[in-house]
Point group: C2
Chain length 203, copies 2
């Protein structure tokens, strides 16, 4: 079975967006800061242009991704990716509200109203042996709190945003949560840091 | 003239201490997680034991450090390092209160009551061609806000603390502040990330 991971472009002060949904130009500048093209499933809309090291990191992620779990905020912010996620995988939207009235029910999006754990279970089933991407946004803290997140991928961007939406919302009593550092990839205008939950000890 | 930098052990969610001053065991575990010894000026109190890569990173820092600027909170938390900072350099304490009543006035500590900028100016003078370390703590945001910080060093530790004291307190209108990514060093249980303010363009 695949892993459940999250990945986010994050500022030096830990934000995935600046005050008032600002800062995305800075946070995603690395996506087009280099010479090597990595097309997504919608290359006209998004083709990465990065260093070779970052391109390898992105290709590995693309090859492994089988489904996504996102919050309603991200879904609304991207207008539901116009019905097709750049990774071309099934998407599970955690929400308390019905889909937009003009939403095409044939698009590979499932609206899950009973929480992150349920959405992750459905996404794992859809992904098979491949991985499930969660978030970014509030869903990540929910998944982490529920012990459902295996891997944390931070694309650290050299900007201080000074406020906004933190990558990890306050976790309360669940923390501290220890990870193992498994990979560091230095790109152009970004450093990719990969962490995993330690394997449970055989008992 | 040397640089003004800050360095801090920081959790994946951006905290330099957990809720209620917790988490220091996790945040500083990397300091003694490897085979290579790097003594400080007070080796009995603090000798780093790290990977060779981290040891190189630490030695370079030690060689360059000429003075420190710290907040009163850190001074109090460490009991003023018992009068001798592990780096054995002059320390400038930003404070609104007088020194502790039993403080030895001969120790190389200066209590600065008119703010971070003034403390940094005094520290630069004391450091000569060497660097000035600022913080960690609230002094860092003050220095950044005043445009006085040249370099940001984050020792990223694989733990989520869930709350506490952020490395960079909210900066308000000064942000966003862009940096250049200059060095990435992968250690044992830590990744050292070094960022610099871009050089001003010749005008």
């Amino acid at each position: 079975m695949g892993k459940v991971f999250t990945q986010a472009s994050v500022s030096l002060d830990g934000y995935i967006s600046g005050p008032g949904q600002s800062g995305f130009d800075r946070l995603f500048a690395w996506c087009t800061a280099g010479p090597v093209a990595t097309p997504t499933a919608v290359p006209d809309r998004l083709t990465y242009r990065t260093s070779e090291a970052t391109a390898r990191y992105l290709r590995e992620l693309q090859d492994r991704l089988g489904a996504c779990v996102v919050g309603r905020k991200l879904f609304d912010l991207t207008a539901g990716w116009h019905g097709r996620h750049p990774s071309d995988v099934p998407v599970f939207v955690v929400t308390h509200r019905p889909p937009p009235s003009d939403w095409d029910p044939a698009s590979p999006f499932t609206f899950v109203t009973d929480g992150v754990a349920s959405a992750i279970a459905l996404a794992r089933e859809a992904a098979g042996h491949r991985d499930v991407g969660v978030g970014p946004g509030g869903t990540v803290a929910d998944a982490l709190r529920a012990g459902l997140l295996d891997e944390l991928r931070m694309d650290v961007v050299p900007v201080v945003l000074g406020g906004g939406t933190p990558m990890l919302a306050a976790l309360g009593g669940t923390a501290p949560i220890g990870f193992e550092q498994v990979e560091v990839v230095e790109g152009i205008g970004v450093t990719h840091l990969v962490y995993r939950r330690p394997a449970p000890r055989p008992g």
